[in-house]
């Protein structure tokens, strides 16, 4: 992958999109790279907020940390319009069927973020009432641990998710359970 304008030092983010050579003034790209690029910078998220991590989510989403810088500033409260399901907070056994239905209502391609340690593993709620990690119910693409995670952790997680979306190209495989380990 090269950047036509400066093959030696491609600018950040540009290497993934542009490729090959074409007539002057025309930018050529692989379709999957272009679509991945478009998808990763236009995340519509569905915040499934059930507990205290929601406070940290609000912090990330609002002006100070500003998720909108990464193109993910638009929460949709209908799963039909969302493509990233952010599960934020402890998930009880009682609400698990609702979470599964929300996931099933989302259009492909879709990604799931487990926000906070309760959604990753159940956290310290090792008890009768709590789902021991939402990946026992729905496939998870990104785990953000922390109780709660710092907003910086969330933003780093968001960037990792963007890398993943870019890499997946045209046909993301739903049900990819393990994120790449960096």
């Amino acid at each position: 992958m090269t950047d036509e304008r400066d093959p030696q030092t491609p600018g950040p983010g540009s290497g993934a999109l542009t490729q090959g050579s074409g007539p002057p003034g025309v930018l050529t790209s692989r379709l999957d790279a272009a679509i991945g690029w478009a998808r990763k910078y236009s995340i519509f998220q569905y915040p499934f907020v059930t507990a205290c991590c929601g406070m940290e989510y609000m912090s990330v989403a609002s002006g100070h940390y500003d998720m909108d810088r990464f193109g993910a500033g638009f929460p949709r409260f209908s799963p039909r319009q969302a493509d990233v399901l952010m599960v934020v907070g402890t998930t009880s056994q009682k609400i698990a069927p609702i979470l599964k239905r929300i996931y099933e209502q989302m259009m492909e391609p879709k990604w799931v973020v487990a926000f906070g340690v309760c959604t990753c593993t159940g956290g310290f709620y090792d008890d009768y009432a709590t789902v021991q990690g939402i990946d026992t119910i729905i496939p998870v693409d990104l785990y953000i641990p922390g109780c709660p995670p710092r907003p910086e952790n969330v933003l780093q997680g968001l960037m990792l998710l963007q890398e993943k979306i870019q890499r997946q190209g045209l046909h993301p495989k739903p049900g990819t359970l393990r994120p790449p380990i960096r």
């Binding site: 056994q93 009682k94 698990a96 090792d126 008890d127 009768y128 009432a129 990946d135 026992t136 393990r178």
Partner: protein, 211 residues
């Protein structure tokens, strides 16, 4: 009204059915016979002016060594030389508690607190509902049923409050298996490389009570 005056009023009404009592200053607790709980609560609400039901809950005393107060720091004994009656009823697995508060509606000041307790055996119904005295008792009674399986004797068709209808058993009973899970959604197959729950050391174990 001090704790002694409250106790006198309670004893005048219930006599020997006040099984045990104690307290410090404006904070009274009393254990009464199960059949007279409603009467005692009516007395608290009416004559004694305890207008707020702060909480209604239960404790499962299964395997609790030597009755309820054994080994527990007793404020009455500490401050008043153990003069109070301690004929605490030790039969009956569950101890139900109603925590009451006397709140001055004009000033917003708390003028006194009291706890009424009674013992209920496994499988039998508790005292009658007090929904008509304090409406908030409705949900509290449902919660006690949900968690401990003790229901008021005049509310036969009680629904769970917090857990789902499919849940079997009552999780805050001491004999509810600590690792038992009742998921509503069938779990997905574990991802490749994931440690199975059986391979993990249990995070919570039940050593029982050490005497």
């Amino acid at each position: 009204m001090t704790e002694t005056e409250l106790l006198d009023a309670l004893k005048a009404a219930l006599g020997a059915d006040v099984l045990a009592a104690g307290g410090v200053g404006h904070d009274l607790w009393a254990q009464v016979a199960k059949g007279r709980v409603r009467e005692a609560l009516q007395l608290f609400k009416g004559t004694l002016g305890f207008n707020v039901l702060v909480d209604h809950t239960a404790a499962d005393l299964l395997k609790w060594p030597g009755g309820h107060w054994a080994g527990v720091w007793d404020p009455c004994q500490a401050t008043q030389g153990g003069e109070h009656e301690r004929r605490t009823q030790t039969d009956g697995r569950f101890e139900l508690t109603w925590r009451l508060m006397r709140l001055d509606e004009k000033s917003g000041l708390v003028e006194g607190r009291a706890a009424l307790k009674c013992r209920v055996s496994d499988g039998e119904a508790g005292p009658p509902s007090v929904r008509d005295l304090w409406p908030c008792a409705d949900w509290l009674e449902r919660e006690v049923w949900d968690m401990f399986g003790v229901k008021p004797n005049n509310r036969p068709d009680l629904k769970r409050l917090l857990l789902y209808e499919e849940f079997k058993g009552h999780p805050l009973r001491k004999d509810y298996p600590i690792a038992k899970r009742q998921p509503l959604v069938a779990p997905l197959p574990a991802p490749e490389g994931r440690i199975a729950p059986e391979q993990l050391r249990p995070r919570v174990t039940d050593p029982g009570l050490v005497e």
